[in-house]
Amino acid sequence: MGNLLEVKNIVYTYGRIAAVDGVSLALGDSDSLGLVGESGSGKSTLGRCIAGLLTPQRGRILYQGKLINGRLHKEIQLVFQDSFAALNPRMKVEALVEEGLIIHKTADKEKRRRQVREMLQTVGVDPALLSRFPHQLSGGQRQRVALARTLILNPRLIILDEPVSSLDVTTGMRLLSLLQDLKVKHNLVYIFISHDLAVVRQICSRVAVMYAGKIVEIGDVEAVFARPVHFYTKLLLDAHPIPDPEQRKKINIRGEAADLLSPPSGCRFHPRCPAADQRCRRIPPPFVEVTDNHRVACHKAISS
């Protein structure tokens, strides 16, 4: 099985700040990857690099075996976090959804109109809203229009940058179930950027945890969630409320997110890690395979 997407050791820096600092990952044909981590961990930057909106200074991105660094690809689309900013305020719903078809000259006017209507139905937007402007829509409708806009080009890989974080819970849940349906129906692969672990668990088969520009743990969702190895993953899972207080075990993790201007030496998580020792402070941990497909960058992973 060839990989749909391969990211090899990419680095993206804003000035002196390395937002993505040597990230590698591979995505199979039917995988969907959840990308989790706190704000500033580099997940959005990584997403934008893969989408081709940003060109990484180092490393390679391969799509279906072809190098696509910094180049846009019709089959790779991105849904932005803020649907309000992602839709041109001066364009109506119809023009917004139709745009991709016009650019790629795939059909005549009549056929385009039909396709736009069908697509709106697919994403669950009432075609009566065709002549509305984005500011006349609700947040959920806007995000669906944004989704329709990308889906109309039949993409294969969609990067979803926190698509539900700006929506209220019920609207978000409905959008998520739509995303799940679409994934099956259109044979889509998602890279789902989120800080909501429950959502990632629902949508994705694999999950990568990022900390300070690096992936610290990557594996199948079930494995990572059941047996997290990296202390940062444990922290994230612990921060997520568990309904039953009997099951809760607190890990005591202090401190704040790493300063990217002068990242900590060795393992970037060591100042906050309860298990850190001399080696963690000095040597950046290599990736080690815990089980099949489950890899962790932590010195303690082997010894424990």
Partner: protein, 277 residues
């Protein structure tokens, strides 16, 4: 609410002035050029609403015909500087690098050059004429528009919706025409509206100095110039042309201000930069 009132009042005033200018031949009670030896410097009366000037010409009619010159100079020159400014601002912001440096430094040079001085120089080289006045005003007015367009485009270029269009495969031309320009137009329109009164003032000043539109064509500026010797004993002579300059400037400022508020632009947007988004 307030914005609607200023926009509304401003637009009504502009419509009123434009109507006066267009219908000048119909409304005017006298020929603006006909002189009368016995009726010179008469105060306003039922026959001469605004009185007469030193040559016995009807000031009311001359003010109406003057409006044609003032308004067409104001609007045409704004149009030209809007065109040049938008084009150069777009080019500068879009291509960046050396193109940006060349265009914007050129704009700076034009901006620091006193337009009055330039006008005086040009007029002394060529014959004073209407088109020259328009050209001088437009030629010195475009940098502020170009700066505004440039800063708007630079801001918008970073926006998610432009990134989204690029992801769909949109090329430069589409991005500029469908995404950047329609969103940059608001603040530019406001700035353009505020360019008109400046142009009207400049034309009036040039004509006042005798460097603008030449007699016998009546303009508010050259009427004021004629009137300055008679200020003490014929108040109406200077008052009416001056009043119309004032009303025109006022109307366009009101409209610009109303437009700015109606478009929800902050105070600073007018000057070309906006804090946050």
């Amino acid at each position: 609410m307030r914005s609607n009132i200023s926009l509304f009042t401003g637009l009504i005033l502009i419509a009123f002035l434009v109507t006066l200018a267009i219908l000048a031949p119909v409304i005017a009670t006298h020929d603006p050029a006909t002189t009368s030896a016995e009726k010179w410097l008469q105060p306003p009366s039922s026959e001469h609403f605004f009185g007469t000037d030193r040559l016995g010409r009807d000031i009311f009619s001359r003010v109406l015909y003057g409006a044609r010159v003032s308004l067409s100079v104001g609007m045409l020159s704004t149009f030209v500087s809007l065109g040049i400014g938008t084009l150069l601002g777009l080019l500068a912001s879009y291509y960046g690098g050396l193109v940006d440096v060349i265009i914007m430094r050129f704009a700076d040079v034009v901006l620091v050059f006193p337009s009055m001085l330039l006008a005086i120089t040009l007029v002394s080289i060529f014959e004073p004429a209407l088109w020259l006045v328009i050209l001088v005003i437009a030629g010195t007015g475009w940098p502020s528009i170009a700066r505004l367009v440039r800063s708007e485009v630079l801001r918008l270029r970073q926006s998610d919706f432009v990134a989204s269009a690029r992801l769909l495969g949109a090329k430069n031309r589409r991005v500029v025409w469908r995404h950047l320009l329609p969103n940059a137009i608001g603040p530019v329109l406001v700035a353009a509206t505020l360019c008109v009164p400046a142009a009207v003032m400049t034309e009036a000043s040039l004509s006042y100095l005798g460097l603008g539109v030449q007699p016998p064509t009546p303009t508010w500026g050259n009427m004021l110039r004629d009137a300055q010797l008679y200020l003490r004993f014929a108040w109406w002579y200077a008052f009416f042309p001056g009043f119309f300059v004032f009303i025109t400037v006022f109307a366009f400022h009101l409209t610009g201000e109303g437009l700015r508020q109606a478009l929800g632009l902050s105070q600073t947007a007018r000057r070309g930069w906006r804090a946050g988004s």
